[in-house]
Structures are given as C-alpha cells and as structure tokens.
Symmetry: D2
C-alpha cells in the first residue's frame, strides 16, 4: 500500500467525523437544513428537541404530547439519588455545570432506564400483535414470555410510593384526546393499558402504569427509538436537577452531607394552589 | 450541652434538607404548590423550566422569549469541545447519560460562561444607570471601567467565526417586538445595544453582539439571576449534546479519536430548506 | 403494622448504610481495622489500594506485581478519547477534578473494559481446567466456545498499533520471576500464554498478548474480582489523565478543539533515556 | 493572506496538540523519554506519578514522602459527599467508572481544595520569609494579612470532628525524620508549624494542623505546584471512592437514597488490629 498523498490525508481526516445535524459557515447556521434564524421564534423548544433528535419537525399536536411528557418528568424530590447528588455537589464547589454532570451521570439503566425498558416491551407487544393482531392477547403473550425469562417487575408499572401515580392517567388522557382528534394513532395507549391489565391479572391489587410507562406510551406513539426515551427523560429531569442545585447554592452550606431516605426532607414552599389560566399569569 | 432526645435527633435530621420546589405524598406531587396533573398539558416546557427555577409561572409572552433563547442555543457544531466530547464518549461504552455528563461537565466558565458573564455586565450597566440615568452613557462608563480593570474581550460580543452571528439579531428582534407590545420592558435590549456601541467605538470594525449577548439580554429582561443564565444555557445545549451522542451511537465506531479543529467535519444532512408553517408540518 | 417508635426509626436509619471499610471516631481513623497512623509510612500505596479494595494487606511480592501493573497502564497518548477529553476539558474552565471526571467517565466497557473482559475469560479457562486439568486444552476449548458464540476479537490480545506491545512481555516476565521464587502461582501466566497460542493457532500472524491481557494475568494471579480489574486500571490511567490535563492547563488555550486521530500530535519532550538506578535519582 | 498549501495545513494540524509526556511509535512507548519497559518493575507507583506530573524521577526518599501522603488521604468515610455520591451512583447502573466520575467531579474548591489552598499560603509564607528571613515571623505576618483580607478559617488547620487529626502528626514526623537524614529541607514542616502557632495564638484552644495541612507540607517540600496538590489528592481519594463504590455494588441495592449525616452509618468491618510487619503479611 503506497503512502497516501497530502490531499488524500487531508480528505480522509475531513471525513473522520460526519454529521447530518448541523452545518455552519461564516454568518450561517443550519440545523437539519433549516436556517437557525427561521427556527428561532417559529418552533417550540419541544419541536426543536424533536428536530435535533429525529431530523424532521413534528406536527404541533405530536409536539404537544412530547411537551406534556417533558413537563411531567422534571422532578420527583431530593430522595432520588440524582437530585441528592445535585444538591450535595452544589455544596462542594463545582459550578452548576459540574453539579448537573455528576447528577445526570447516574441516570443510567437502573435510575433512569425504566422508560426506555418499557418502550422496548411496548415495541415487542407491537411486533407480536403485527398489523392485524389482537393487542390485548399480544400483551398477555409478551408478559407471559417475559415472566418465563425471569422478569419480576415490569418497568413502567407499579410504584413503591404512589398507589396511583398522578402523572400517568393525566398523560394517558392527553394521548386519548389526541387519538380521538386523529392526531396520533392511540395504538400504544391501547398497548400500555393492555400491558397493565396483563400484568395485573390474578393479583389482589392492580399494578398501575406509572410515569415511566405513560411517557413510554407517548414516546412510542411518536415513534422514538427506545434509547432516546432515556435521552429525552434526561432532558426533562435536568430541569429538576438544575432547580435543586440552584436552590442548594442559594441556601449555602459547605460539603453538605446527605439526608436520610427514611427521614424525608422538609418542604417549605407555597401551599397547594391551582394553575392559573394563561391570561392570569405573569 | 445535654444529649438531644430521640425526638430532637429525628427532628433535626428531618430539617437537614429543606426545599420549596417539590412536595410529594402518596398519590400527590406538587411543584411549587401546583399539582403536577394540572401543570401537565397546561404549561409549556419553557414555562415549567421557569416555574422550577424561579418559583412562579411566567406570562406567556415572557415564556416565549425564554423559548426563543432555548431554541437558539442548542448546538454550534462538533468542533466545540462539549459536542466533541459527547461524540467521543458515545464510542467508549457509557450510555447516553454518561456521554451527556462528560460533555455538560465542561460547560464551565470558559466554554459555557459567556452568557452568565454578559448578564453580570448588563446588570452592572443597569445599576450604573439607575432608574433615571442615561443608558448609553452608563454603558460607556462600564466599558471604560472594565477595560481599566483589564478586560480585553467582552463576553457576549464578537465571534471568531461569524462576522454576524445570525442568532443575535433574530433574538433581539423578538425582544423589540415584545417590548413594542408592552410584554417586556426592552430596557436590556437597549442596554445590550448600548454596550455593543460602546465596545465598538473607535474600532475599524464593529464588535457585534453574539448568541451569548442576545440570550443574556433575554434572561435579563426576564429577571433571571446571572448564574442561572449558565444553567438555562446548559438545558439548551444538552439537546445538541444528546443529538450528537445519539448520531454517533447510530454511526457506530469504537474508541473513536477526535477530529481536528483545522480540518472541519463533513456535513451530510439535508440541503437548506425553509421552516414550514405549522399547518404544513408533521 | 404499627408505627415504629422513635428509637426504632433512628436505628433503622442508622443501618441504612453499612461499611466494613472505614471506622472513624474523634481522633481515630481506622481502615479495615488498621489505625491510619500505623498504615502511613508502613504500607506502600499499592498495598493500601489492595487493603482498601479487598480488606487485607497483600504480601510484598504480590503488591509489587500490582505496582508493576499500575505503573504500566498510566498513559497511551492523547489520541485515546479519555486523554483527549481531559485535555479539551482543561481548556473549558473546570478544575483538574472536573477534567478528570469527564475523562474517567468514558473508561467504560469499550474504552476501559478490555482488562476486565480478559479476566473473565481467564477465569473461565481456569474453571474449565479445574484443579487437575490441562491448561492448554482448556484454553483451546474456551477459545472455540467463545468463537462459536460470536466473539471475534479477544480482549487482551492483539493491538491495532503495536506489533508487540512492549509492556506485555515485561509484565509477564515479572510474573514468571515471582512464580519461580514461589511468590505467586504462575497459573494465570500459563493460562494467558495458552490463550495467546489458542487464539493465534492457524493464523498467518500471531495475536500477541497486549497490556490489557498482561495486567489481567497479574490481577488474576492476585485473585481480584474481574470488575475491580477495571477499577484498578482507572486508578492507573487517572495518573495520565491528570498529567495531560495539567500539561494542557500550563499550555493555556481556551475552548480548544480536538486533534485529528489521523494527524497525530507533536512530541516535544526529552529524547530517549535510560531509567537511572535508584541511587542516581532525584 | 493566501490559502495555506496542503502540506502547511497538515503541518499546522499536527502541531495543534503538543505534549512532552508521552511518545509512542509501533512497538515503542516512552514516558518523559523513559522506555515503559524500563519503568515497569523499576519505579514505584508514586515515583511514576511524580515522573508523569513533573517530568523527572524523584529520589526514593522524596517518593516515600509522596507515598505516605497518598496512603494517608484515601478515605474519610461515607458522610463525605464524594464517598456518598460514589455509593449512591453504584446503585443507579453506571459502571465503576461512572460512579468514580460523579464522585471525583465534586472534589472541587470546597470539598477537595483545602490542601491546594494551604499550599498557596505556605508558598506565601516561604516568599515572605525569603532566603534569610525569620520563618515564624513570616508566618505571623501572612496570618495577620490573610485575616485582614477576611480569611476566617485557614485551610489545612482545625477539624470539625477530630480534636487532633491522627494523620497529621504522623505525616509531619516522617518529614522531620527525612529532614534529619538530609533527604528533604524540612523548611515547609517548620513553616507549617509556624502557621499553626500563628493561627492558634491568643485562642483558648489550639487549631492543630489537619490532613490537608500535613499533605500540603509534604507537597511543598517536594516542590509541587499548588494546583497539583489537589490533583494528587484526587489520585489518593479515588482509592476510597472506588472501594466504597465496589462495596456498595457487592451489597446490592437499587436507586439507594442517601444516609443522614446526623445519623452516622454502621461499621461492620474488622476490629482494631495492628499493621503486621512486612514479613508477616499476605
């Protein structure tokens, strides 16, 4: 093999990294082909997230389902390791970026992977049913198969703390309404409920869908690959991580040790109140 | 000092961590007092970000300015260390969470702090002018003082690559329009332009406001504390970091070394295209 | 179930975390039962690493094998993503801790896991042979089985860059010498060479053991669990990561983009020289 | 400016990154000029750390002081945020690398910077005294100056938990012994004690040197730049971080929340025992 020429070396080096996400020239920035100045002010942040991750802009109704899921997952309190880490880190000296990095890092298979794993099962049921199959039967088949393979807890169903996770029925209601308006198929909402029924069958208590299950239904309705389910969850939970890191920064404290899970923490924020209409905000 | 009683010990431990962000009871989740099921579907993701960070819901027009800033900052290509790190990490084995953490971690003072630093200067000019002072004169005073203290490059102004950063005038135009409608004061847009003029005075070429300056104007219009300017920037840039980590994951590669800054990368995405109207999307 | 008493709650909370590593009281610190002031000055750093990870102090000859492995793995140049990330991070603003964290984070299965994976295979061959079996035959059996299961590249063998990795024969020679002196069994050195022969059989070129294979042999000789093989590797590579982060910090640079793998980097350090005798150092 | 030629572009790209740490060619690896196969088995791990960080091999006595400091700092229990984070992370899914990264990341100015800050003050006292000045007077001058500038707690002195930190006198004793043998100057041990006296003067209780102060004395004796004081501390504490992450991994647990600082943890390891002579180990 002869030595490559200078031009060949340069060319090979230039092809080392390739992206279809962003293209930049002096005075020009385009994302997935769209000039950034057209995107700014014309697409919502969830639409931009979708464009960046999938390459195309979603319909507005689909973007609103994504938005509901992003809103739903921002935080579940400082007893979660990710939030606890963010707060402790904020008392150790790194900036908000460092506190966020240490926290986001632990949103791995166990602490941040339930939504992704639930999506994988939903896609399995979808494939099991095929275009014309019975969805409920497919759910029962997949549940039986997974149990035979040793799965004990189905990701996306049941909650150690909430008898019913208040986020799940609300999200599912939004999917139903969108399906009624023809904005989404509703197939995965059906599949999710079929899974819930199949998992709960024969138990004294039902095992209701939780936030991970309900967001998985939405991400599957939208056609997102399962690993991106975790990615989008991280974008959402980052908001809570940042809020807690910042609150702890404002509270001060140096090298602040952890709080016991058993002892809970103290809430000193506003009392319960209703979300005002848009016209009454701000 | 007598030994605290058991109840006192428990009580002290419970007060160790205090938050006004989130309150959770079985079947109940409230953020800043608002039940989560009311927030889902009724507030946008940028509004939720605002609520989590500041404690209150913004007006919709203010939320739309925040949204424009979030959309504008998602990515500036794989030559930025944060994006390069995300892509390399994705070939080393950690999940998307790990790739995101390694990348977000470097959005520190130098690589991610320009917006925050520009906000600090904008707030200095604001204070210098006081309620009735001349904004342009205040900008000149602050620029002169900062230069006397050794500042050479004003964060938020000038760009090594773009003669004019296409994101900045677009964002500033949105602030102007909102100010005309009385939705925001417009004071910081004025201050930002005054800073641009003061910095550029006497130079052969103007030093135009860049993305960090324009988002700083928006975050100051909204009254965000300067450190949260970096926090919100990280929420935005996380989208690009995730998109590149995922693209690299799909491309494959193992232990993939870096690309040279000098050689650029190859873009193989869609050609330039216009952002369609909402009715024509999806 | 009756509500636990205050004392029960306190007690349960106290048991939430349990460790056998460290015990601390005012004026007293003990690691694995040994007072820290007895350890300081009496055990080497590799012996301390061993004590912390396994609970007991090693013999000095075994500690010296560990030490050789720790010395061998510190660095393999800035084209490795971990080192490249450390250098880039150092130009972005986080301290040395942040640069190290972003880099260490990517030492996952792909970039940092070969030693651990090689240990797993060595332990498989060890189990296959049993106490009296033929080691070479066991190696051939495991290689054939792994290939049948789809393994193409055996972790710990072969190198894309080095025809012979200069670290491997040196480390193996130290194991041989220790085995001759009866300080270690030498069984895993035999198994490692048997694997090398089985992997190379029928190929035009041998597939020689690399650094990951040679350190895996040492860690197996010492009886380390396979996941700790990666842990100890990280302790070693952290030294190179810190050295490069610090060198880059001293060189300066802001938001410094990556270097192309194809183009290599420039070495401007001392010319080749021999390691002086201890008496001639410092 | 004319377009650079292909060769110029290649050349510029090759110079983009420069290192004097490591030089690699097929079959050859040299660290600071020394062939790796000569270093393996001939230098200790602390000597290798020194070589990588400073460019030269230390004398053995100096390396032993470094070794004592590395041994001393490995762990101070799971109530420290770094160790707490490592344990929590280990229950969330990332590998040992991810748990270590999240933990190391928080060893910033506040949680990991006291040694570095103490070194800076020691170097100030050193400069204040000059070659012939009175060391005790210089210490008093610097303490008074620092207090006038607002410093309340001197990094490296005093401990919230230990009346006397058992690691500090032991380390200082090793420096004294080395100084008596002429292996190190002992100047910074003197300066450290002078600082202790100056800080304690006029107080009802002395403010004794702690582990950060004692290791700072050693690192200054060795001539390490202050920022590397933190770097070397991280290399040491990484051992404890790894040990705790691994212990928690073996204990199991999923998404395990934090332990309360007030409640302490349970120690279930070996009872107090003496470090055996080398001949009786292993």
């Amino acid at each position: 093999m002869s030595e490559p020429t200078c031009a060949e070396q340069l060319d090979e080096a230039r092809r080392w990294w390739t992206t279809s996400i962003v293209d930049i020239h002096p005075g020009e920035i385009a994302m997935r082909g769209y000039p950034i100045e057209q995107l700014i002010g014309n697409v919502t942040f969830p639409e931009m997230i979708w464009l960046m991750l999938t390459g195309e802009l979603p319909s507005r109704p689909k973007a609103q389902l994504l938005e509901a899921a992003l809103v739903a997952s921002v935080d579940h309190g400082p007893q979660a390791p990710s939030i606890a880490i963010a707060r402790m880190a904020a008392t150790c000296g790194p900036g908000l970026n460092g506190s966020m990095a240490s926290a986001i890092n632990v949103l791995d298979d166990v602490h941040g992977g339930a939504g992704q794993q639930c999506m994988e099962i939903l896609y399995q049921v979808d494939a099991e049913a095929g275009p014309d199959g019975d969805l409920d039967e497919a759910a029962r088949t997949v549940v039986a198969r997974q149990r035979a393979e040793g799965l004990k807890y189905f990701p996306g169903f049941g909650h150690r703390f909430h008898p019913v996770d208040p986020r799940a029925p609300r999200l599912l209601g939004l999917v139903d309404a969108a399906a009624e308006r023809g904005e989404t198929s509703g197939r995965f909402a059906h599949l999710g409920r079929a899974l819930e029924a199949a998992i709960s069958a024969g138990r004294s208590r039902p095992v209701p869908m939780n936030i991970d299950g309900a967001t998985a239904v939405i991400y599957c309705e939208l056609g997102l690959p399962a690993p991106l389910g975790r990615g989008v969850f991280i974008l959402s939970r980052s908001v809570g991580i940042l809020a807690h890191a910042w609150e702890q920064t404002c509270q001060g404290g140096r090298i602040k040790g952890p709080q016991a899970k058993f002892l809970n923490y103290t809430y000193d924020g506003p009392a319960r109140r209703d979300v005002p209409d848009v016209a009454d905000r701000g």
